[in-house]
Protein backbone atom coordinates (compact mmCIF):
# COMPACT_ATOMS: atom_id res chain seq x y z
CA UNK A 1 0.00 0.00 0.00
CA UNK A 2 2.96 2.28 -0.22
CA UNK A 3 2.13 3.29 -3.80
CA UNK A 4 -0.46 5.66 -5.12
CA UNK A 5 -1.52 7.85 -7.97
CA UNK A 6 -0.34 11.34 -7.23
CA UNK A 7 -0.89 14.82 -8.57
CA UNK A 8 2.60 15.77 -9.63
CA UNK A 9 3.39 19.45 -9.83
CA UNK A 10 4.59 20.79 -13.15
CA UNK A 11 7.80 22.72 -12.60
CA UNK A 12 8.61 23.66 -16.17
CA UNK A 13 7.87 22.77 -19.72
CA UNK A 14 10.02 23.46 -22.73
CA UNK A 15 9.92 22.55 -26.39
CA UNK A 16 13.23 20.94 -27.35
CA UNK A 17 12.53 20.38 -31.00
CA UNK A 18 9.55 20.27 -33.28
CA UNK A 19 6.94 18.30 -31.32
CA UNK A 20 9.44 17.16 -28.66
CA UNK A 21 8.83 18.51 -25.18
CA UNK A 22 10.69 18.40 -21.91
CA UNK A 23 8.70 18.44 -18.69
CA UNK A 24 10.08 18.70 -15.18
CA UNK A 25 7.67 17.51 -12.52
CA UNK A 26 7.84 17.34 -8.75
CA UNK A 27 6.81 13.90 -7.56
CA UNK A 28 7.41 11.34 -4.85
CA UNK A 29 8.21 8.97 -7.71
CA UNK A 30 11.61 10.65 -7.95
CA UNK A 31 12.73 9.25 -4.60
CA UNK A 32 13.23 5.69 -5.77
CA UNK A 33 13.43 6.15 -9.54
CA UNK A 34 16.13 4.44 -11.61
CA UNK A 35 17.18 5.04 -15.22
CA UNK A 36 15.07 2.95 -17.57
CA UNK A 37 12.01 3.04 -15.37
CA UNK A 38 8.93 4.92 -16.52
CA UNK A 39 5.95 6.75 -15.11
CA UNK A 40 2.34 6.43 -16.17
CA UNK A 41 1.10 9.90 -16.98
CA UNK A 42 -2.65 10.58 -17.07
CA UNK A 43 -4.62 13.26 -18.87
CA UNK A 44 -7.23 15.53 -17.30
CA UNK A 45 -9.53 14.65 -20.19
CA UNK A 46 -12.43 12.44 -19.15
CA UNK A 47 -12.50 10.85 -22.58
CA UNK A 48 -8.88 9.65 -22.31
CA UNK A 49 -8.57 7.36 -19.32
CA UNK A 50 -5.57 5.20 -20.03
CA UNK A 51 -2.04 6.06 -18.96
CA UNK A 52 0.66 7.35 -21.26
CA UNK A 53 3.84 5.54 -20.22
CA UNK A 54 6.79 7.93 -20.42
CA UNK A 55 10.38 7.00 -19.63
CA UNK A 56 12.32 8.86 -17.03
CA UNK A 57 14.88 11.09 -18.72
CA UNK A 58 16.49 12.65 -15.66
CA UNK A 59 16.19 12.16 -11.91
CA UNK A 60 16.77 14.64 -9.14
CA UNK A 61 16.22 12.49 -6.05
CA UNK A 62 16.82 15.19 -3.48
CA UNK A 63 14.69 17.75 -5.26
CA UNK A 64 12.01 15.08 -5.84
CA UNK A 65 12.07 15.99 -9.49
CA UNK A 66 11.78 13.98 -12.65
CA UNK A 67 12.36 15.03 -16.19
CA UNK A 68 10.20 13.55 -18.93
CA UNK A 69 10.99 14.11 -22.57
CA UNK A 70 8.22 13.10 -24.93
CA UNK A 71 6.91 13.41 -28.43
CA UNK A 72 3.48 14.77 -29.27
CA UNK A 73 2.16 12.00 -31.48
CA UNK A 74 -0.59 13.98 -33.14
CA UNK A 75 -3.50 16.36 -32.77
CA UNK A 76 -6.18 15.36 -30.26
CA UNK A 77 -3.76 13.07 -28.39
CA UNK A 78 -2.92 12.88 -24.72
CA UNK A 79 0.66 13.96 -25.34
CA UNK A 80 -0.70 17.03 -27.13
CA UNK A 81 -2.55 17.85 -23.92
CA UNK A 82 0.60 17.28 -21.87
CA UNK A 83 2.41 19.77 -24.07
CA UNK A 84 -0.06 22.44 -22.92
CA UNK A 85 0.79 22.00 -19.23
CA UNK A 86 2.38 25.01 -17.61
CA UNK A 87 4.46 25.50 -14.49
CA UNK A 88 2.12 25.36 -11.51
CA UNK A 89 -0.34 22.95 -13.11
CA UNK A 90 -0.65 19.43 -11.80
CA UNK A 91 -0.52 16.21 -13.73
CA UNK A 92 -1.53 12.80 -12.37
CA UNK A 93 1.22 10.20 -12.39
CA UNK A 94 1.94 6.75 -11.06
CA UNK A 95 5.52 5.66 -10.71
CA UNK A 96 8.26 4.79 -10.82
CA UNK A 97 7.20 1.68 -12.72
CA UNK A 98 9.03 -1.29 -14.15
CA UNK A 99 12.63 -2.29 -13.76
CA UNK A 100 15.31 0.04 -14.94
CA UNK A 101 18.53 -0.69 -16.75
CA UNK A 102 20.91 -2.91 -14.71
CA UNK A 103 23.62 -0.32 -15.20
CA UNK A 104 25.61 -1.65 -12.22
CA UNK A 105 26.63 -4.54 -14.46
CA UNK A 106 28.47 -2.12 -16.71
CA UNK A 107 31.27 -1.55 -14.27
CA UNK A 108 34.59 -1.99 -16.00
CA UNK A 109 32.94 -2.56 -19.35
CA UNK A 110 33.14 -0.84 -22.68
CA UNK A 111 29.56 0.07 -23.29
CA UNK A 112 27.21 1.23 -26.00
CA UNK A 113 24.36 3.37 -24.75
CA UNK A 114 22.08 3.49 -27.74
CA UNK A 115 18.93 5.49 -28.24
CA UNK A 116 16.81 6.12 -31.27
CA UNK A 117 13.98 8.57 -31.86
CA UNK A 118 11.87 9.03 -28.78
CA UNK A 119 13.90 6.21 -27.19
CA UNK A 120 16.72 8.71 -26.74
CA UNK A 121 15.56 10.36 -23.47
CA UNK A 122 15.99 7.45 -21.01
CA UNK A 123 19.57 7.07 -22.21
CA UNK A 124 20.41 10.38 -20.57
CA UNK A 125 19.88 9.40 -16.95
CA UNK A 126 21.46 6.05 -17.74
CA UNK A 127 24.55 7.83 -19.03
CA UNK A 128 24.61 10.02 -15.98
CA UNK A 129 24.48 7.17 -13.50
CA UNK A 130 26.57 4.61 -15.29
CA UNK A 131 30.13 3.99 -14.11
CA UNK A 132 31.99 2.06 -16.75
CA UNK A 133 35.28 1.76 -18.53
CA UNK A 134 34.19 3.44 -21.73
CA UNK A 135 30.85 5.15 -22.25
CA UNK A 136 29.95 5.37 -25.91
CA UNK A 137 26.64 7.13 -26.40
CA UNK A 138 25.18 6.46 -29.82
CA UNK A 139 21.96 8.23 -30.53
CA UNK A 140 19.87 8.48 -33.66
CA UNK A 141 17.63 11.33 -34.73
CA UNK A 142 15.46 12.13 -37.71
CA UNK A 143 17.20 15.36 -38.53
CA UNK A 144 19.24 18.22 -37.14
CA UNK A 145 16.90 18.54 -34.13
CA UNK A 146 19.34 16.66 -31.93
CA UNK A 147 17.59 17.24 -28.62
CA UNK A 148 19.57 16.48 -25.41
CA UNK A 149 22.84 16.58 -27.39
CA UNK A 150 24.58 18.95 -24.97
CA UNK A 151 23.64 16.85 -21.96
CA UNK A 152 24.92 13.71 -23.68
CA UNK A 153 28.24 15.33 -24.50
CA UNK A 154 28.78 16.01 -20.82
CA UNK A 155 28.20 12.38 -19.93
CA UNK A 156 30.21 10.30 -22.38
CA UNK A 157 31.57 10.13 -25.90
CA UNK A 158 28.75 11.03 -28.22
CA UNK A 159 28.09 9.60 -31.68
CA UNK A 160 25.10 10.81 -33.61
CA UNK A 161 23.25 9.46 -36.58
CA UNK A 162 20.50 11.28 -38.42
CA UNK A 163 18.13 9.87 -40.99
CA UNK A 164 18.65 12.82 -43.28
CA UNK A 165 22.40 12.95 -42.72
CA UNK A 166 22.30 16.52 -41.46
CA UNK A 167 24.35 15.67 -38.36
CA UNK A 168 26.78 12.80 -37.77
CA UNK A 169 26.37 9.57 -39.67
CA UNK A 170 23.60 9.43 -42.24
CA UNK A 171 21.39 6.51 -41.30
CA UNK A 172 20.63 4.90 -37.97
CA UNK A 173 22.66 4.04 -34.88
CA UNK A 174 23.92 0.81 -36.44
CA UNK A 175 25.25 2.78 -39.36
CA UNK A 176 26.97 5.09 -36.88
CA UNK A 177 28.85 2.31 -35.09
CA UNK A 178 29.83 0.75 -38.40
CA UNK A 179 31.00 4.04 -39.87
CA UNK A 180 32.94 4.93 -36.73
CA UNK A 181 34.20 1.37 -36.35
CA UNK A 182 33.08 1.19 -32.76
CA UNK A 183 32.79 -1.85 -30.59
CA UNK A 184 31.58 -2.67 -27.10
CA UNK A 185 31.24 -5.56 -24.67
CA UNK A 186 27.87 -4.47 -23.29
CA UNK A 187 24.89 -2.70 -24.79
CA UNK A 188 21.97 -0.76 -23.36
CA UNK A 189 19.38 0.40 -25.88
CA UNK A 190 16.02 2.03 -26.24
CA UNK A 191 14.22 2.90 -29.44
CA UNK A 192 11.87 1.73 -32.16
CA UNK A 193 11.46 -2.01 -32.64
CA UNK A 194 13.35 -2.24 -35.97
CA UNK A 195 16.34 -0.57 -34.31
CA UNK A 196 16.16 -2.89 -31.30
CA UNK A 197 15.85 -5.88 -33.58
CA UNK A 198 19.03 -4.87 -35.40
CA UNK A 199 20.87 -4.30 -32.14
CA UNK A 200 19.68 -7.60 -30.72
CA UNK A 201 20.95 -9.44 -33.80
CA UNK A 202 24.24 -7.57 -33.70
CA UNK A 203 24.72 -8.33 -30.01
CA UNK A 204 23.79 -11.96 -30.28
CA UNK A 205 26.03 -12.56 -33.28
CA UNK A 206 28.90 -11.19 -31.24
CA UNK A 207 27.84 -12.67 -27.91
CA UNK A 208 27.54 -9.24 -26.32
CA UNK A 209 25.36 -8.83 -23.24
CA UNK A 210 22.60 -6.50 -24.36
CA UNK A 211 19.68 -4.87 -22.58
CA UNK A 212 16.82 -3.40 -24.54
CA UNK A 213 13.85 -1.39 -23.43
CA UNK A 214 10.56 -2.35 -25.09
CA UNK A 215 7.25 -0.59 -25.71
CA UNK A 216 3.70 -1.83 -25.78
CA UNK A 217 0.19 -0.46 -25.24
CA UNK A 218 -0.68 -0.51 -21.58
CA UNK A 219 -3.80 -0.34 -19.45
CA UNK A 220 -2.77 -0.85 -15.83
CA UNK A 221 0.96 -0.22 -16.08
CA UNK A 222 1.58 -2.31 -12.98
CA UNK A 223 1.42 -5.90 -14.16
CA UNK A 224 -2.18 -6.79 -13.44
CA UNK A 225 -4.00 -6.73 -16.76
CA UNK A 226 -1.65 -8.60 -19.10
CA UNK A 227 -2.09 -6.03 -21.86
CA UNK A 228 1.54 -5.24 -22.47
CA UNK A 229 3.22 -8.55 -23.01
CA UNK A 230 6.15 -9.41 -25.20
CA UNK A 231 7.11 -12.84 -26.45
CA UNK A 232 9.81 -14.64 -24.54
CA UNK A 233 12.03 -17.51 -25.61
CA UNK A 234 11.45 -19.50 -22.46
CA UNK A 235 8.30 -20.07 -20.52
CA UNK A 236 8.07 -17.27 -17.98
CA UNK A 237 7.81 -18.21 -14.34
CA UNK A 238 5.01 -15.77 -13.64
CA UNK A 239 2.83 -16.16 -16.70
CA UNK A 240 3.57 -19.85 -17.19
CA UNK A 241 3.53 -19.16 -20.94
CA UNK A 242 6.05 -17.58 -23.30
CA UNK A 243 5.12 -14.06 -22.32
CA UNK A 244 6.44 -11.36 -20.05
CA UNK A 245 4.78 -8.15 -18.97
CA UNK A 246 6.68 -5.14 -20.27
CA UNK A 247 5.34 -2.83 -17.56
CA UNK A 248 6.23 -5.09 -14.64
CA UNK A 249 8.93 -7.51 -15.81
CA UNK A 250 10.46 -4.90 -18.14
CA UNK A 251 10.50 -2.53 -19.86
CA UNK A 252 14.18 -3.48 -19.92
CA UNK A 253 14.95 -7.07 -20.94
CA UNK A 254 18.05 -9.03 -21.70
CA UNK A 255 17.94 -9.20 -25.48
CA UNK A 256 18.26 -12.98 -25.50
CA UNK A 257 15.17 -13.57 -23.39
CA UNK A 258 12.68 -11.81 -25.67
CA UNK A 259 11.57 -12.20 -29.27
CA UNK A 260 10.94 -9.14 -31.36
Amino acid sequence: MEKKKEQAKVLSQEMLADGIYSLWIETEAARTARPGQFVSVYTADASKLLPRPISICEIDKEGKKLRLVYRVTGEKTGTKQFSELKAGDTVPVIGPLGNGFPYEKAEGKKVFLMGGGIGVPPILELAKQMQCEEKQIVVGYRDAHTFLKDEFEQNGTLYISTEDGSVGTKGNVMDAIREQNLDADMIFACGPTPMLRAIKTYAEERGIECYISLEERMACGIGACLACVCKTKEKDAHSNVNNKRICKDGPVFLSTEVEL
Binding site: C225, C230, N240
Partner: protein, 300 residues
Protein backbone atom coordinates in the same frame (compact mmCIF):
# COMPACT_ATOMS: atom_id res chain seq x y z
CA UNK B 1 -24.96 0.35 10.05
CA UNK B 2 -24.20 -2.86 8.29
CA UNK B 3 -21.95 -3.01 5.25
CA UNK B 4 -22.03 -6.82 5.16
CA UNK B 5 -23.72 -8.61 2.32
CA UNK B 6 -24.60 -12.25 1.92
CA UNK B 7 -24.12 -13.54 -1.57
CA UNK B 8 -25.42 -17.07 -1.98
CA UNK B 9 -24.52 -17.96 1.58
CA UNK B 10 -21.10 -16.31 1.57
CA UNK B 11 -20.78 -13.28 3.78
CA UNK B 12 -18.67 -10.43 2.41
CA UNK B 13 -17.62 -7.63 4.75
CA UNK B 14 -18.85 -5.10 2.23
CA UNK B 15 -20.44 -5.25 -1.23
CA UNK B 16 -17.34 -4.37 -3.22
CA UNK B 17 -15.16 -6.73 -5.22
CA UNK B 18 -13.02 -6.27 -8.29
CA UNK B 19 -13.89 -7.27 -11.84
CA UNK B 20 -12.08 -10.32 -13.11
CA UNK B 21 -9.07 -9.59 -15.27
CA UNK B 22 -8.55 -6.07 -14.02
CA UNK B 23 -6.82 -6.94 -10.77
CA UNK B 24 -4.72 -10.03 -11.49
CA UNK B 25 -4.87 -12.10 -8.34
CA UNK B 26 -4.42 -9.02 -6.22
CA UNK B 27 -0.67 -9.09 -5.86
CA UNK B 28 0.17 -6.09 -8.02
CA UNK B 29 -2.68 -3.96 -6.69
CA UNK B 30 -1.73 -4.95 -3.16
CA UNK B 31 0.91 -2.24 -3.42
CA UNK B 32 -1.84 0.36 -3.84
CA UNK B 33 -4.81 -1.06 -1.94
CA UNK B 34 -5.21 -2.82 1.39
CA UNK B 35 -6.72 -6.06 0.13
CA UNK B 36 -8.21 -6.63 3.58
CA UNK B 37 -10.62 -3.82 2.88
CA UNK B 38 -12.28 -5.53 -0.09
CA UNK B 39 -15.46 -7.57 0.24
CA UNK B 40 -13.91 -10.08 -2.10
CA UNK B 41 -11.16 -10.41 -4.66
CA UNK B 42 -12.23 -11.85 -7.99
CA UNK B 43 -9.28 -13.27 -9.86
CA UNK B 44 -8.36 -13.12 -13.52
CA UNK B 45 -9.96 -15.98 -15.46
CA UNK B 46 -8.15 -19.29 -15.16
CA UNK B 47 -8.39 -22.31 -17.45
CA UNK B 48 -7.46 -25.95 -17.09
CA UNK B 49 -4.15 -25.36 -18.87
CA UNK B 50 -2.09 -22.19 -19.44
CA UNK B 51 -3.38 -19.96 -22.26
CA UNK B 52 -0.94 -17.69 -24.09
CA UNK B 53 -3.60 -15.10 -24.95
CA UNK B 54 -3.82 -12.94 -28.06
CA UNK B 55 -1.11 -11.14 -30.00
CA UNK B 56 -0.46 -7.49 -29.11
CA UNK B 57 -1.69 -4.76 -29.21
CA UNK B 58 -4.19 -6.14 -26.76
CA UNK B 59 -5.74 -2.88 -25.59
CA UNK B 60 -6.85 0.41 -27.06
CA UNK B 61 -8.27 3.53 -25.61
CA UNK B 62 -11.80 4.47 -26.61
CA UNK B 63 -13.77 7.58 -25.69
CA UNK B 64 -14.43 7.31 -21.96
CA UNK B 65 -13.30 3.73 -21.73
CA UNK B 66 -11.07 1.07 -23.21
CA UNK B 67 -11.16 -2.00 -25.36
CA UNK B 68 -9.31 -5.20 -24.57
CA UNK B 69 -8.57 -8.43 -26.30
CA UNK B 70 -6.21 -10.04 -23.83
CA UNK B 71 -7.44 -13.42 -24.95
CA UNK B 72 -7.67 -14.83 -21.43
CA UNK B 73 -3.97 -15.35 -21.00
CA UNK B 74 -3.59 -17.32 -17.79
CA UNK B 75 -1.07 -19.58 -16.11
CA UNK B 76 -3.39 -22.57 -15.89
CA UNK B 77 -5.15 -23.92 -12.84
CA UNK B 78 -2.19 -25.82 -11.38
CA UNK B 79 0.15 -22.89 -10.95
CA UNK B 80 -2.84 -20.79 -9.93
CA UNK B 81 -3.69 -23.14 -7.06
CA UNK B 82 -0.10 -23.31 -5.97
CA UNK B 83 0.60 -19.59 -6.06
CA UNK B 84 -2.43 -17.32 -6.30
CA UNK B 85 -4.76 -18.97 -3.79
CA UNK B 86 -2.13 -19.10 -1.01
CA UNK B 87 -1.33 -15.46 -1.72
CA UNK B 88 -4.95 -14.42 -1.33
CA UNK B 89 -5.46 -16.59 1.76
CA UNK B 90 -3.16 -14.24 3.61
CA UNK B 91 -5.85 -11.57 3.46
CA UNK B 92 -9.14 -11.23 5.23
CA UNK B 93 -11.27 -11.10 2.10
CA UNK B 94 -13.37 -13.58 0.17
CA UNK B 95 -11.83 -15.31 -2.82
CA UNK B 96 -13.79 -15.64 -6.03
CA UNK B 97 -12.05 -17.55 -8.78
CA UNK B 98 -13.07 -16.68 -12.30
CA UNK B 99 -13.11 -19.72 -14.59
CA UNK B 100 -12.84 -19.88 -18.36
CA UNK B 101 -12.76 -22.56 -21.01
CA UNK B 102 -13.36 -23.29 -24.68
CA UNK B 103 -15.63 -26.24 -24.09
CA UNK B 104 -17.66 -27.68 -21.20
CA UNK B 105 -14.95 -30.23 -20.37
CA UNK B 106 -12.44 -27.44 -19.85
CA UNK B 107 -14.69 -25.56 -17.46
CA UNK B 108 -15.49 -28.75 -15.60
CA UNK B 109 -11.83 -29.62 -15.21
CA UNK B 110 -11.18 -26.29 -13.49
CA UNK B 111 -14.26 -26.47 -11.30
CA UNK B 112 -13.34 -29.96 -10.20
CA UNK B 113 -9.76 -28.99 -9.51
CA UNK B 114 -11.01 -26.09 -7.36
CA UNK B 115 -13.55 -28.12 -5.40
CA UNK B 116 -11.23 -28.74 -2.49
CA UNK B 117 -9.35 -25.48 -2.61
CA UNK B 118 -9.97 -22.92 0.11
CA UNK B 119 -11.82 -20.50 -2.10
CA UNK B 120 -15.23 -19.00 -1.43
CA UNK B 121 -16.99 -18.78 -4.73
CA UNK B 122 -16.47 -19.42 -8.41
CA UNK B 123 -17.44 -17.10 -11.21
CA UNK B 124 -17.94 -18.77 -14.56
CA UNK B 125 -17.03 -16.58 -17.51
CA UNK B 126 -19.36 -17.73 -20.26
CA UNK B 127 -18.22 -15.03 -22.64
CA UNK B 128 -15.33 -17.23 -23.72
CA UNK B 129 -15.44 -18.34 -27.34
CA UNK B 130 -17.40 -21.57 -27.57
CA UNK B 131 -15.44 -23.92 -29.77
CA UNK B 132 -18.52 -26.01 -30.33
CA UNK B 133 -20.78 -23.15 -31.44
CA UNK B 134 -18.82 -21.18 -33.98
CA UNK B 135 -18.05 -17.55 -33.27
CA UNK B 136 -20.67 -17.16 -30.55
CA UNK B 137 -19.82 -17.38 -26.90
CA UNK B 138 -21.50 -19.87 -24.54
CA UNK B 139 -23.21 -16.99 -22.89
CA UNK B 140 -25.15 -15.97 -25.98
CA UNK B 141 -27.23 -19.13 -26.08
CA UNK B 142 -29.70 -19.87 -23.29
CA UNK B 143 -29.68 -23.61 -23.84
CA UNK B 144 -25.90 -23.83 -23.59
CA UNK B 145 -25.94 -21.67 -20.48
CA UNK B 146 -28.47 -23.82 -18.71
CA UNK B 147 -26.64 -27.02 -19.59
CA UNK B 148 -23.23 -25.73 -18.65
CA UNK B 149 -24.52 -24.35 -15.37
CA UNK B 150 -26.17 -27.65 -14.49
CA UNK B 151 -23.03 -29.61 -15.32
CA UNK B 152 -20.90 -27.30 -13.21
CA UNK B 153 -23.31 -27.35 -10.31
CA UNK B 154 -23.13 -31.14 -10.24
CA UNK B 155 -19.48 -31.09 -9.27
CA UNK B 156 -18.90 -27.70 -7.68
CA UNK B 157 -18.46 -27.50 -3.93
CA UNK B 158 -18.56 -23.70 -3.79
CA UNK B 159 -21.42 -21.39 -4.80
CA UNK B 160 -21.44 -20.70 -8.52
CA UNK B 161 -21.76 -17.24 -10.05
CA UNK B 162 -22.57 -17.28 -13.74
CA UNK B 163 -21.12 -14.23 -15.46
CA UNK B 164 -23.26 -12.98 -18.29
CA UNK B 165 -22.29 -11.24 -21.50
CA UNK B 166 -24.18 -8.11 -22.54
CA UNK B 167 -23.89 -8.98 -26.22
CA UNK B 168 -27.33 -10.56 -26.35
CA UNK B 169 -30.80 -9.58 -27.44
CA UNK B 170 -32.42 -10.40 -24.12
CA UNK B 171 -30.29 -10.71 -21.02
CA UNK B 172 -33.22 -11.97 -18.94
CA UNK B 173 -33.54 -15.05 -21.11
CA UNK B 174 -29.91 -15.97 -20.41
CA UNK B 175 -30.24 -15.07 -16.74
CA UNK B 176 -33.25 -17.30 -16.35
CA UNK B 177 -31.44 -20.13 -18.08
CA UNK B 178 -28.56 -19.82 -15.63
CA UNK B 179 -30.99 -19.78 -12.72
CA UNK B 180 -32.78 -22.82 -14.14
CA UNK B 181 -29.42 -24.56 -14.39
CA UNK B 182 -28.92 -23.98 -10.69
CA UNK B 183 -26.68 -20.91 -10.56
CA UNK B 184 -26.32 -19.51 -7.05
CA UNK B 185 -25.73 -15.97 -8.27
CA UNK B 186 -25.20 -13.99 -11.44
CA UNK B 187 -22.67 -11.36 -12.33
CA UNK B 188 -22.99 -8.90 -15.17
CA UNK B 189 -21.89 -7.35 -17.40
CA UNK B 190 -18.87 -8.64 -19.18
CA UNK B 191 -17.49 -6.39 -21.93
CA UNK B 192 -19.44 -5.15 -24.95
CA UNK B 193 -17.82 -6.19 -28.19
CA UNK B 194 -16.37 -3.22 -30.03
CA UNK B 195 -13.87 -2.30 -32.68
CA UNK B 196 -11.46 0.52 -33.25
CA UNK B 197 -9.64 1.33 -36.45
CA UNK B 198 -6.51 3.41 -36.66
CA UNK B 199 -7.30 5.58 -39.67
CA UNK B 200 -3.68 6.57 -40.23
CA UNK B 201 -2.20 3.11 -40.19
CA UNK B 202 -5.48 1.77 -41.67
CA UNK B 203 -5.51 -1.24 -39.41
CA UNK B 204 -7.27 -2.46 -36.30
CA UNK B 205 -6.25 -0.88 -33.00
CA UNK B 206 -6.10 -4.29 -31.30
CA UNK B 207 -4.57 -7.27 -33.05
CA UNK B 208 -7.67 -9.38 -32.48
CA UNK B 209 -9.71 -6.88 -34.60
CA UNK B 210 -12.56 -6.79 -32.08
CA UNK B 211 -12.18 -6.22 -28.36
CA UNK B 212 -14.33 -5.89 -25.28
CA UNK B 213 -15.35 -2.37 -24.36
CA UNK B 214 -15.33 -1.50 -20.67
CA UNK B 215 -15.17 1.54 -18.42
CA UNK B 216 -17.57 4.42 -17.71
CA UNK B 217 -19.04 4.24 -21.19
CA UNK B 218 -20.71 0.89 -20.58
CA UNK B 219 -22.28 1.88 -17.27
CA UNK B 220 -25.79 2.84 -18.44
CA UNK B 221 -26.07 -0.39 -20.38
CA UNK B 222 -24.90 -2.38 -17.37
CA UNK B 223 -27.40 -0.66 -15.07
CA UNK B 224 -30.21 -1.44 -17.48
CA UNK B 225 -29.22 -5.10 -17.68
CA UNK B 226 -28.84 -5.45 -13.93
CA UNK B 227 -32.26 -3.89 -13.48
CA UNK B 228 -33.90 -6.15 -16.04
CA UNK B 229 -32.21 -9.23 -14.62
CA UNK B 230 -33.20 -8.34 -11.07
CA UNK B 231 -36.83 -8.32 -12.20
CA UNK B 232 -36.42 -11.72 -13.83
CA UNK B 233 -34.56 -13.91 -11.35
CA UNK B 234 -34.50 -14.65 -7.64
CA UNK B 235 -30.78 -15.14 -7.16
CA UNK B 236 -28.40 -12.36 -6.15
CA UNK B 237 -26.67 -10.25 -8.77
CA UNK B 238 -23.17 -8.84 -8.70
CA UNK B 239 -23.33 -5.72 -10.81
CA UNK B 240 -20.43 -4.38 -12.82
CA UNK B 241 -19.66 -2.34 -15.89
CA UNK B 242 -18.10 1.08 -15.69
CA UNK B 243 -18.27 1.49 -11.95
CA UNK B 244 -15.75 4.20 -11.10
CA UNK B 245 -17.32 6.22 -8.29
CA UNK B 246 -19.46 5.58 -5.21
CA UNK B 247 -22.41 7.05 -7.12
CA UNK B 248 -21.99 4.49 -9.90
CA UNK B 249 -21.92 1.65 -7.37
CA UNK B 250 -24.96 2.91 -5.50
CA UNK B 251 -26.84 3.28 -8.77
CA UNK B 252 -26.11 -0.35 -9.52
CA UNK B 253 -27.28 -1.45 -6.08
CA UNK B 254 -30.49 0.58 -6.32
CA UNK B 255 -31.08 -1.09 -9.69
CA UNK B 256 -30.89 -4.53 -8.12
CA UNK B 257 -27.29 -5.59 -7.55
CA UNK B 258 -26.50 -7.14 -4.17
CA UNK B 259 -22.82 -6.38 -4.66
CA UNK B 260 -20.64 -4.64 -7.21
CA UNK B 261 -17.34 -5.15 -9.01
CA UNK B 262 -14.90 -2.45 -9.96
CA UNK B 263 -12.96 -3.12 -13.13
CA UNK B 264 -11.43 -0.66 -15.56
CA UNK B 265 -11.51 2.11 -12.97
CA UNK B 266 -8.69 0.35 -11.11
CA UNK B 267 -6.44 1.10 -14.06
CA UNK B 268 -6.72 4.85 -13.82
CA UNK B 269 -7.57 5.13 -10.16
CA UNK B 270 -5.95 2.31 -8.18
CA UNK B 271 -7.73 3.59 -5.09
CA UNK B 272 -11.18 3.34 -6.70
CA UNK B 273 -12.36 0.33 -4.67
CA UNK B 274 -11.57 2.00 -1.36
CA UNK B 275 -13.22 5.26 -2.37
CA UNK B 276 -16.30 3.30 -3.42
CA UNK B 277 -16.50 1.35 -0.15
CA UNK B 278 -16.17 4.55 1.85
CA UNK B 279 -18.61 6.36 -0.39
CA UNK B 280 -21.30 3.71 -0.08
CA UNK B 281 -20.96 3.90 3.68
CA UNK B 282 -21.26 7.68 3.63
CA UNK B 283 -24.36 7.48 1.43
CA UNK B 284 -25.97 4.96 3.75
CA UNK B 285 -25.26 7.16 6.72
CA UNK B 286 -26.62 10.25 5.00
CA UNK B 287 -29.74 8.52 3.78
CA UNK B 288 -30.47 6.44 6.84
CA UNK B 289 -29.94 2.99 5.39
CA UNK B 290 -29.21 0.43 8.10
CA UNK B 291 -28.00 -2.28 5.82
CA UNK B 292 -26.80 -2.61 2.25
CA UNK B 293 -29.57 -5.05 1.51
CA UNK B 294 -32.14 -2.36 2.27
CA UNK B 295 -30.90 -0.53 -0.81
CA UNK B 296 -30.87 -3.46 -3.22
CA UNK B 297 -33.30 -2.98 -6.07
CA UNK B 298 -35.46 -0.37 -4.37
CA UNK B 299 -35.79 1.76 -7.48
CA UNK B 300 -38.43 -0.06 -9.49
Amino acid sequence: MDMKVNIAGVEWKNPVTVASGTFGSGEEFGEFVDLNRLGAVTTKGVANVPWPGNPTPRVAEVYGGMMNAIGLQNPGIDLFCKRDIPFLKKYDTKIIVNVCGHAPEEYLAVVERLADEPIDMMEINISCPNVNAGFLAFGQDAKHVEELTAQIKKIAKQPIIMKLTPNVTDITEIAKAAEAGGADALSLINTLTGMKIDINRRTFAVANKTGGVSGPVVHPIAVRMVYQTAQAVNIPIIGMGGIATPEDAIEMILAGASAVSVGTANFYNPNATIEIIDGIEAYMKKNGFESVKDMVGIVK
